[in-house]
């Protein structure tokens, strides 16, 4: 009968479904798991290649030699950083999650304050401090994954931000290369020249909420640091929510996007704007693009190919508003961030987990990574290998760099910063209005006692 058949089918399907849920493998070997936002052939593919071809096999081998049977499992997560952060917070909150987690440095404080992660030493014990690698990691880079003087993880690298331009586009516009501006006025003047020469988008300085942290780091900080100070006063331990420098920064945005229309505001405001600006740059439609070395290593590599990239693309340092007017009196400015790996405080094998983390951070492992993708490493004994431009960028910019305030409120304040720039480049608010709205929002977030207002003019 028809419906009996249907019922049997339904029941069989239900049993299948229920059964499929509970299958798990069990063996006597210890299994360590690690998670990153990485997919082979997709996002952060180089990291996967390095982990799978170097780190995991060599670690398993090394442990086997010591008579420990370890299997390392890599859990590739392809979604966004935000989604990964959600999963981490949920998992850590219930004592679950992978043993090693790739972690963006600026997430550390809020996770620590929530009691979700712990210092390396508290998890794995004294062996952490005995590790000989620490002395090869500069203090400033260690701090990328530290909070209140405690180390929570080891970075995989750091980065810098510069202005990229295409030699052919500049030459055609009659601008002499190599080109290095010394003030914001220089930048605007060059942009005008490019515009006259018919370059569609003379300059892109990231703004707006769709680009997320890329707006704060590649856009806003690069301007603000050149106007004289940081987002946070490290001596007073307070957030600067209103100041002449902040206003200058917003006016610089206004000049570029609204008054002179030297940048394409649309690209800053639509969802896929960052990718569009990468593509426009690769097509020679963008004059100057302020971006991190990630842009050089990855999208440009993908879009232009190595040869075209190396022969056409040049970089310049971001100048302060006027020589000497930058942060700490600098002529040029940049800022660095970094990701790394932390240990899950709930790991069942803290020493092994640390063993894996220190193994992948030793000099041989880091050199192996340079072969896969040359980038600024976190170890002073491993220079950038095989990419002279990358080396030049590191040499020119690293010493000028600073980092974001490593504080739990920072990620939310960063979103307010993005909103503030969006309001200006879209023409929705004047710089003064946008700054006041920002000051109000940040004051609400951190409290009146934690903010400073420096009188405007």
């Amino acid at each position: 009968m028809h419906r009996y058949k249907l019922l049997v089918m339904l029941a069989a399907l239900a049993i299948m479904v229920l059964g499929a849920a509970g299958v798990g493998a069990q063996d006597d070997a210890v299994t360590l798991t690690m998670t990153c936002r990485c997919v082979e052939g997709g996002v952060n593919s180089n990291l996967v290649v390095w982990l799978k071809t170097y780190v995991i096999p060599t670690f398993e081998e090394r442990m086997a030699e010591q008579g420990v049977n370890v299997t390392v499992e890599l859990v590739e997560f392809g979604g966004s950083d935000e989604q990964l952060k959600q999963q981490y917070a949920l998992d850590l909150g219930v004592g679950a999650g992978a043993d090693l987690m790739s972690f963006d440095g600026f997430w550390v404080p809020e996770f620590v304050d929530a009691g979700l992660i712990q210092p390396l030493e508290a998890i794995a014990g004294e062996i952490v401090n005995e590790w000989d690698g620490w002395e090869h990691i500069p203090e400033a880079i260690q701090e990328l994954l530290s909070y209140r003087g405690e180390r929570y993880g080891i970075p995989v690298g750091t980065d810098v931000r510069v202005i990229y331009y295409r030699e052919d586009v500049f030459t055609e516009a009659g601008i002499e290369v190599p080109w290095q501006p010394t003030s914001w006025a220089d930048i605007l003047e060059t942009a005008e020249q490019l515009k006259e020469a018919g370059v569609e988008i003379p300059i892109q300085l990231n703004a707006g909420t769709p680009m997320g942290e890329a707006t704060t780091m590649q856009g806003f900080f690069m301007a603000l640091l050149g106007a004289g100070h940081h987002l946070y006063d490290f001596d007073e331990e307070k957030w600067i929510v209103s100041s002449p420098a902040l206003l200058e920064t917003l006016r610089f945005y206004e000049e570029i996007y609204v008054n002179r229309e030297l940048g394409d505001a649309r690209m800053q405001l639509v969802e896929d704007g960052r990718q569009r600006s990468f593509e426009a740059f690769a097509n020679g439609e963008v004059g100057m693009l302020v971006e991190g070395d990630f842009f050089w290593r990855s999208p440009m590599f993908e879009l232009m190919g190595v040869e075209q990239r190396n022969s056409l693309v040049r970089f310049a340092l971001m100048p302060a508003r006027e020589p000497g007017a930058g942060y700490r009196g600098q002529d040029y400015v940049t800022i660095s961030g970094g990701t790394g790996w932390i240990l899950n405080p709930n790991t069942e094998h803290p020493e092994l987990a640390w063993g894996l983390l220190s193994h992948m951070s030793d000099v041989d492992a880091v050199r192996a990574f340079q072969l896969i993708q040359p980038r600024i490493s976190f170890r002073d004994d491993v220079p950038v290998a095989g990419d002279p431009t990358m080396t030049a960028m590191a040499d020119a910019a690293l010493s000028l760099s600073t980092v974001r305030p490593q504080l739990p409120e920072y990620p939310q304040i960063s979103v307010e910063v993005q909103l503030m720039t969006e309001r200006v480049v879209s023409g929705e608010m004047s710089p003064e209005e946008a700054l006041e709205a920002y000051a109000e929002a940040v004051t609400e977030l951190v409290g009146e006692e934690n903010v400073i207002r420096i009188p405007l003019e």
Binding site: A14, V17, E76, V94, A96, S298
Partner: protein, 276 residues
């Protein structure tokens, strides 16, 4: 109104039908052309020549293929079966016994489900699944999605059941059949078109689900297709349109086939309409 139309009216009707058809069809064009184009962009163009190369690459991505043909089928099938069984039983009971205030109750539950299916409830749902040991299991996703879809399913289903004359069942009862027997032998065959509609509706919802799997699942081998899409994103984290379109095509075909099959076999339509 319809039978004797003037030619002008018929022409207008045809014109309107064409406009409506285009309104629904045009946005889907890209889904049909891009997958067969070796260098797909956002524009619609007839591939010269049509190629299956994109599908070859997609089929070599074991993670994405497993997501689609194993995980999605488990999740979609599980939710479909559970909803079909549970909603049929419940709506039958609500329609055939007097439960005071059941109208209001079902509506209130729909309101609740709108809260529980939203982002705000994801933390409670995660913690609940964790306590029940359901993290990173398909069964967890199935149960939670079933809970969220159930009120609307009962709501749609109940009117199907109510629109069926009770006389057959009453006659069977008079002849001495047990209530279970009546449900099984008399009512169920009659409400089957309704069960089918609700089952498809549940399947489609579970097939496209993103948020619940994202919150509950962890292992790549358990992820459904909505999340596996990210494996066709580039190194820089942006979609590779060529592969994304091919995967989107494969992701859509099962729902399409299921609909066509059901429509051909049972007729996909609401039964007597849903009304208060």
């Amino acid at each position: 109104m319809i039978d004797q139309r003037s030619p002008i009216l018929r022409l207008l009707t045809l014109l309107l039908a064409t406009v409506l058809g285009l309104f629904f069809a045009l946005p889907m064009l890209w889904l049909i052309t891009a997958p067969f184009n070796e260098r797909a962009t956002l524009s619609v163009s007839i591939p010269q020549p049509p190629s299956l190369a994109n599908f070859e690459v997609v089929f070599n991505n074991q993670f994405a293929i497993r997501a689609l043909f194993v995980n999605n089928l488990i999740i979609g099938g599980g939710v479909m079966v559970l909803i079909a069984i549970v909603a049929t039983l419940a709506s039958y009971a609500l329609s055939r016994t007097r439960v005071p205030g059941s109208d209001l109750l079902v509506y209130i539950l729909i309101l609740f489900s709108s809260v529980v299916s939203g982002t705000a409830a994801m933390v409670p749902l995660f913690l609940l699944a964790y306590r029940l040991g359901l993290i990173d299991t398909h069964i967890g996703v199935i149960l939670i999605m079933t809970g969220g879809l159930l009120p609307s399913a009962i709501f749609i289903m109940r009117d199907f059941v109510s629109s069926i004359p009770r006389s057959y069942e009453e006659a069977a009862l008079v002849c001495g059949a047990s209530p279970l027997r009546v449900f099984w032998d008399v009512a169920l065959p009659l409400v089957r078109p309704g069960v089918v509609v609700v089952a498809i509706w549940a399947f489609v919802n579970a097939w496209g689900a993103f948020l619940v799997p994202l919150v509950l699942l962890r292992s790549p081998q358990n992820m459904p297709a909505s999340i596996a899409f990210y494996s066709f994103y580039s190194e820089a984290g942006t979609p590779n349109l060529t592969l994304v379109s091919a995967y989107a095509f494969l992701y859509t075909v099962p729902v399409l086939l299921l609909y066509l099959l059901i429509n051909w076999r049972f007729g996909f339509r609401f039964f007597g309409g849903i009304k208060r």
